[in-house]
Amino acid sequence: MLDISPAEWTAILLSLRVAIIATLVATPFGIALAWLLARRDFWGKSVLDAVVHLPLVLPPVVTGYLLLLTFGRRGLVGGFLADHLGIVFAFRWTGAALACGVMSFPLLVRPMRLSIEAIDRRLEQAAETLGAAPFKVFFTVTLPLALPGVLAGMVLGFAKAIGEFGATITFVSNIPGETQTISSAIYSLIQTPDGDAAAGRLVIVSIVLALGALIAAEWFAHRATQRLHGN
């Protein structure tokens, strides 16, 4: 039906790889942060909350530029990682994953946080009276009950990551086969005289992926309520 060319496939597969890696790496951090924000009171909590949400409101090009300054070859963190661990972000697909991860992080954390906040803390107390140490309470009660929210967060984060454009193109540019995701491929195609058909195909692919993710997130949210009511 859609006659997708090899070059377009490259962009689609790269987008999928970038978004999947970004989501998987961000998830443990997201869960930890969601728990911290939902369950702990500490000094600087509102500042941390604001910083997490910053990529949502900052111009993406600013986030991308900040990433370039920090994680670029000569950046403070980027230089250290490149010299000591051999991890390079600049102009690599890993950099695209980092940009997508940062940009999608607020969306990923939010459902996780909400689902942890919705859990009755008295259930965690009950687990404690049955002999569960705090980390066991987390893994046997809190996390299983929050699981639908965790999955919803992952799906939303994934959907955001796969469509990310501004920060990615600023940080790692638009190199076919290395950093050219669906979004940047569409951007390039629109600027080419006869690229409309190819751009159109990629647009359809993006819409299908985004819609699928939203429907999945909705389904997980529905599961969450069922789970909390024990049916």
Binding site: D120, R122, L123, Q125, A126, A127, E128, T129, L130, G131, A132, A133, P134, K136, V137, T140, V141, P144, L145, R227, L228, H229, G230, N231
Partner: protein
Amino acid sequence: MLRVDVEKQLGEFSLHATFSSEGRVTGLFGASGAGKSSLINMIAGLLRPDRGTIVIDGETVDDTASGIHVPTWRRRIGYVFQDARLFPHLNVAQNLDYGRRMNRLAPDAAQRARVVELLDIGALLDRRPGKLSGGERQRVALGRALLSKPRLLLLDEPLGALDEARKLEILPYLVRLRDEANVPMVYVSHDAAELRQLATQIVMLRQGRVTSFGGVKVLT
């Protein structure tokens, strides 16, 4: 068995309670707001006393003078709450096994069968808590607490959320538990009739103070 001597300031309310008990079922009796729940939560370790000591079965679990505060999960107590608090993501069988797993106890099929039979919950094992009636939930909560092999079972108004008919349904199970389960209990209630049936010793609380202590006679 249980020695309590604690002080706790909770806003305007001050609790200062001293008692010791050897009874099989110690009834904590008092009107709502007398400090019963705060007291039982201190025994459970969910609330920390400002000053004082709590000794369960010879082990000091709280002693503010020497900075001892054993966390709830290491106290080896069972706690039955007014609102059952079964884990909604686990079925009845998994709820029953939770305490044993957390305490790394070997499976004890005989004891499990005995508790299941005692509480008459064999037909519910595959169900989720959401599909149980209030009375069934409370019976499962009792079984779950018992199967963690506690040295002391705390019950905070376990019939409080149930209507009269349900209460009468559960009471016989509690009596059987007292006579057969061989675990000392602390039973919180504001219902004198309930305690007359169950308790062997009464601690009467009023506005945060122990006003009388003794056999069930003190209820009259």
